[in-house]
Subunit: 418 residues, 2 copies
Amino acid sequence: MLQAIKANIIHAEKSGFVSRENAYLVMEDGVIQGVFDTLPAQYQNAALEDYGDAILTPAFADMHLHAPQYPMMGLGGDLQLIDWLNDYAFPTEAMFADTDFARRVYRQLAQELIKRGTTRVCMFSSLHTDATLILMEELEKAGVTGLVGKVNMDRNSGKSLQESTGESIRETLRWLDACGNFRLVKPILTPRFTPACTDELMAALGKLARERDLPVQSHLSENDNEIAWVKELHPDCAQYWQTYAKYGLWKQGTLMAHCVHSDARERAAMREAGVFMVHCPDSNVNIRSGIAPVRRALQEGVQVVMGTDIAGGVQLNMADALTMAIRMSKQRWIESQGQDDFLRFHEAFYLATTAGAAYFGVPSGFRAGERLHAQILTDALLCPTLQPLTLPERLERLICAADPHSLHAVYSDGVQRL
Amino acid sequence: MLQAIKANIIHAEKSGFVSRENAYLVMEDGVIQGVFDTLPAQYQNAALEDYGDAILTPAFADMHLHAPQYPMMGLGGDLQLIDWLNDYAFPTEAMFADTDFARRVYRQLAQELIKRGTTRVCMFSSLHTDATLILMEELEKAGVTGLVGKVNMDRNSGKSLQESTGESIRETLRWLDACGNFRLVKPILTPRFTPACTDELMAALGKLARERDLPVQSHLSENDNEIAWVKELHPDCAQYWQTYAKYGLWKQGTLMAHCVHSDARERAAMREAGVFMVHCPDSNVNIRSGIAPVRRALQEGVQVVMGTDIAGGVQLNMADALTMAIRMSKQRWIESQGQDDFLRFHEAFYLATTAGAAYFGVPSGFRAGERLHAQILTDALLCPTLQPLTLPERLERLICAADPHSLHAVYSDGVQRL
C-alpha cells in the first residue's frame, strides 16, 4: 500500500536540526520511499494523510527501562540504590511470578509507551521466563519494537527474587527458544548487575553471547556503594567494567546503563569496545546517584543513548527524560563553573531519537528503505505567539514545555499505532 | 446551597500527611462547614458529589510566575538570566502593549492554570496597565485567585519595555484605582528587580506600600552577575536585600523570588522581617542560576513557598515544579555529600499547597469557615498494583509519576471550576 504523509519534517543530527517544511514522506507497505518537496508523479495515487502545519519527527528510543517496576513508578523516592532495590524494586518484580498480573501491567505499559511516542526500547524484564514472553507479546501487539531481556540474577537479591545458577541458565535457554516467533522484539542477554550474578553465571552468559551472537545489557558504575561492593566481589578487577569484560560481556553493542561514576579510563574502555552508555538522568538524580559525565563521554567519542530507567526514573515520557538531561547537564555546568559545557536542546533530542535508532543500525533522518518510526506533534493548542517561530523553536517548545497532549499520531515500524 | 463531597481527604502539614478515608466535606455556598466520617443528620439534604475512591487534596498555589512570558515558555533555554531577559523576556513582554494579544494569551493562561489544579497565584504582569487589568479580569473569570502586579521598571530594560519614572508612578496609581472591582484577585506592588528600578521609583513604591498597606513582590539574589550588578548600583548596601529595605519594600509578607545565593545573613533578614522566599527550582536550573538553599532556610525558620516562575521555568504544572524541587534538593544532597538533607515528598507538597495558602492567611487542611480550594485526583488509570497503597503513597504516585490526566476536578474559592 502506497501512503504519503504531508507535514513539516525535522530530525536532529549530532550537529543540529535538519528540517523540510511542508514536505511529503512517501511509504510503500511501511517502508520509506523518499521525502519530497512536491509529490512526484509516480506517487500521485498514494493515500495522502495531510497533517497541515504539524511536525513530523522521529519517534523516541527508550534504551533502558525495567518493565516490572512500572507498578511502583513514583514510589520509594526517599531511598538510594541498594536500599531501593531491596525494599521496593525486588519485591515488586517478584510479583511477576503471577502471569495474569504481568499481562495486565505489560499491556498497559506497552500502550502507554506508544501514547508517548516511544517506538523503540531496550528493556529489562524480571527473572521470570513466562512473564518475559508475555511482555514481548504485549510489546509486539502494541507495536513497540526493540530488545527485551529476561533478567539473570542468582545471588544477593533476597529470597523472593532469586534463581539458582542452574535455573538461571536453563530458563535463559528456554526463553531464547521461545523467542523465535517475535517479529518486532528480539532477545538481549541481561545479567542484572555484577553483584547479582555469580562468576559461573556470568561465564555461562558470556559463552551464550558469543555462541549465539546475542547482544548484552546491564548496569555500570551507578552508585558509590555499588562500586565498592563490586570491588569486594572482584578484587582482581581494578574497575567495574572489567567484571563484565572478564566474561566476554563487554563487546560491540553492549548497553551499559548509568555510568554516573565512570572515569576517563572506564569511558575509554567503552569507546574502544563499542559499548554504549545509556544515560538515565531522571533516575540518577531521583535515587541520588549523581550526574553522569555525558558531555565528556560525547566529546571523547563514546556512543551515548538515553533511557527513562523506569522506575528508578519516574518519567515514562522521553520528552521529560531529555529535558531532565538538559537540566542535569546545566547543573553540572553550574557546579563545574562552566568547565563542563551543558547539553543543548538539539543534542538531547538527538540522543533520545537518532542515537537510539542508530543503535539498531538505522541511519539518521527518514531514509529510503527504512521503516517509518515517527511522531506527529501539533502546537495548535499551545499559547499563541505574535511572531512566527522556526521549526526547531516549535519543536523545542513542544518537547520542553508542552503537556503530552501535543502528540497527535505515532508510526512504529511503518504502521500507524496512535 | 448545601453541598457534600465524598472522597479520600488528605493534606500536608510541615511534619507529614494528615488523611481521612472516605470522608464527607460539607460546604454551604462554597464555605466549608466541616469534614466528617459520616454525614451528620443536619446535612442529609446536601447535594452529594461522591468521588468514590478518588483523592481530595488542596489545590496548588503558584507564588511566582510571569504571565506575559507564557508565549515564550520553552524557548531561550541556552541563555543565562541577564541575556535571557534582554534577548527573550523583555521583547516578549513588550508585545503586551497589544491588548487583543494580551486577552488571548491571558485567557488561555488562566484556563490552563485551573486545568492543572492551581487556584492561587502571585503573578507578575508586564508594565502595561491595560494588559494587567485584562489579566486580572481573565483570572477572575476562570476562577484563579490571588495577587497580580503591574510591573514597575524605569531603567535598564531596553527601548521597547521601559517607562519613565513619572509614567511608572502615574500608571501604578491608575492601575490601583481600577482594581477596586475585582473580587478574587488583588493588586501587589511589583518593582521588577533592583537593576530595573531607579531609586526615585523605589522610594515612591515604598511610600505607596506604606500609605495603602499594599503587599510587595520582587526578585532577590538569583544569579551571580545580577548580584554584582546590584552591588555596583547600590555601593552603600552590603547585601542585595538592603536595596529593598532601604525603601520600605522589605516587610511582613513581601515575596522574594529565587534567593538562590542568599547567605545566612540575608536569610536571617528574611526571617526577621517576615519576608517569604519563593522557591522556583525549575527556573533556577533552567537559566543556570543554581540550587536555592531551601532546606537550610526552612530549618532557620524562613517562610518558604513555591513558584513555577514561568517562563524562566517551563513547567506550568505545580506537580512538576514540586517534583523538580525534590530533584534539585537531592542534587544538593549529593553535592554536599549528605550535609544538606533533601526535601521529602510531603515537604515539597506542603510547600506547593499548604504553605502557599498560609501566605493568604488560610490555615492548613480543610477548616470550617474557609472557602474550598481543592483538587480531585484519580489513579484509576495508573498501572495496577498487587498490594493496596496507603493514601500518601497514592498521592505521591499521582503527583510524581502521573501525567496531568490524573486531575479529575478542581474547586477554587468554593466553586467547581473543572
